[in-house]
Symmetry: C2
Subunit: 284 residues, 2 copies
């Protein structure tokens, strides 16, 4: 496995392989890799001939109040995981290479970014859209694999790629969970023992909503009430949102007459938990 | 010469040639081609193996009050010019193919777009930045050629390509002029005989500024006074701006201690004339 830090070197590597007809896969990450990432890497491995994992903790998608400085950066451990998973290139650009002096271009996907994560974190998704566009420009992949865990992000990337004609196939892989249902996340390490014990309740709430929809409930308001009731049993949890949305546009649904995504964000002590499940017709 | 209307077909054409090592050139235009475009096409021809001219009157870069509906669209004449100039593909996407339902992504280059053309036309440059990113995605060129006539646009495209790592080489060709100095423009056909007669005064004003700088004048204010004085001789002309700027950032200069660009926009009857000249050290 090679480690490449320079964006120019990354593009040279990719362009040479592209000209030879080699299919390049990319898994963009912020490092602190866990079994969820391992699943994305495996997926990308099966769909490509040469595999790049990018590790870049992107400052522009953190708000000033957020955990940029303390975000975990176990780079040696990450490289070992990548090597064992059959990654060909670990791409680790620096902040200075990503955003040199004079840098100013911003990519926004306004409708998808407006609600949910975008409502509480207004700059977050323009940071994501811009860095993803840049990574695609640097790595030039044929396919890129994202996790369903960040559902809104994956919907945004799909729309971005379509709108800017980026010619990258986007694959979204189901969320990998701990045995008790908690979605894997690099931030789970911040949970105390007690918080960790109750953290799966978010997933249980979403699952209760999904089961209600699949049993025939079509009023979003009733589904929301069911989800709220599950969380209400855990007084340490503060709900940011529990929403029933169109799975493509992420606009709230009143009547569940198409595939829905149930989105949830809750605060548990100092940690924000994020999760989602698809419900109803047409799996994507 | 082929005419391609579908973005998908355009990408297929380009990707096949790219894999064969063919160097693809693109000249993006809004049609109504004149000798200025012919010069861009010739330039691109010399630098590439396969040449695409895109013709797309981009609605998102016009303000609601502007001349989108009456913008000239002599498509048959344009195709003849392209064919004679050795163009391989005339790419003519429709508005519906460029902006399908649900389209929402916006690319902005905020610092460069803020002043001059961006000040009076606030949405103009996000329209340009977005459509150029899309055209690059569809055509996948190795090089793209722009005219210096739209100086701010060319500076914006350079910055955009650098910031989004688009791996397209941008060439900017000098403005082609009528014998009396008037910069060629698709909108010159709107000038009355009398307006046409005095239209070159904008260029003369910019040239007076350039000569003053090259004779050693370093105060931007004095250069501006010289340019204003030339235009003042033509009472039909209403100055929008006459500016002395850093040639890369387009920020106004106080002291001319580096390469400058002199930018001018004036209103002459119903027509807006735009022109610029570089002055001082380091030609790009």
């Amino acid at each position: 496995m090679r480690t490449i830090r320079s964006p120019q070197a990354m593009t040279v590597w990719s362009e040479r392989l592209r000209r030879e007809g080699v299919k390049i896969g990319l898994v963009p990450t912020m490092g602190a890799l866990h079994d969820g990432h391992r699943t994305l890497i495996r997926s990308a491995r099966l769909k490509s001939d040469a595999l790049v994992v990018s590790i870049f903790v992107n400052p522009t998608q953190f708000a000033p109040t957020e955990d940029l400085a303390k975000y975990p950066r176990p780079i040696r451990k990450d490289r070992v995981l990548c090597k064992e998973a059959g990654v060909d290139v670990c791409f680790e650009p620096t902040v200075a290479a990503m955003y040199p002096e004079g840098f100013q271009t911003v990519v926004t996907v306004p409708s998808i970014a407006r609600r949910w994560e975008g409502h509480t974190r207004p700059q977050h998704f323009s940071g994501v859209a811009t860095v993803v566009t840049k990574l695609f420009g640097m790595v030039r992949p044929h396919i890129a694999v994202f996790g369903q865990k960040d559902y809104q992000q994956s919907a945004l990337v799909r729309q971005l790629v379509k709108d800017l004609n980026l010619d990258v196939e986007i694959l979204v892989r189901p969320t990998v969970r701990e045995r008790d249902g908690l979605a894997m996340s690099s931030r789970n390490i911040y949970l105390s023992t007690e918080e960790r014990r109750i953290a799966p309740i978010l997933f249980h709430a979403l699952e209760a909503g999904r089961r209600a929809i699949e049993a025939g409930l079509t009023e979003a308001e009733s589904v929301q009430a069911i989800m709220h009731k599950v969380i209400a049993g855990a007084p340490m949890m503060e709900i940011e949102y529990l929403a029933v949305c169109d799975s493509r546009t992420l606009e709230p649904l009143m009547k569940i007459d198409r595939q829905a995504v149930l989105l949830g964000a809750i605060r548990l002590g100092s940690v924000r938990l994020l999760d989602n499940v698809l419900a109803g017709r047409k799996k994507r």
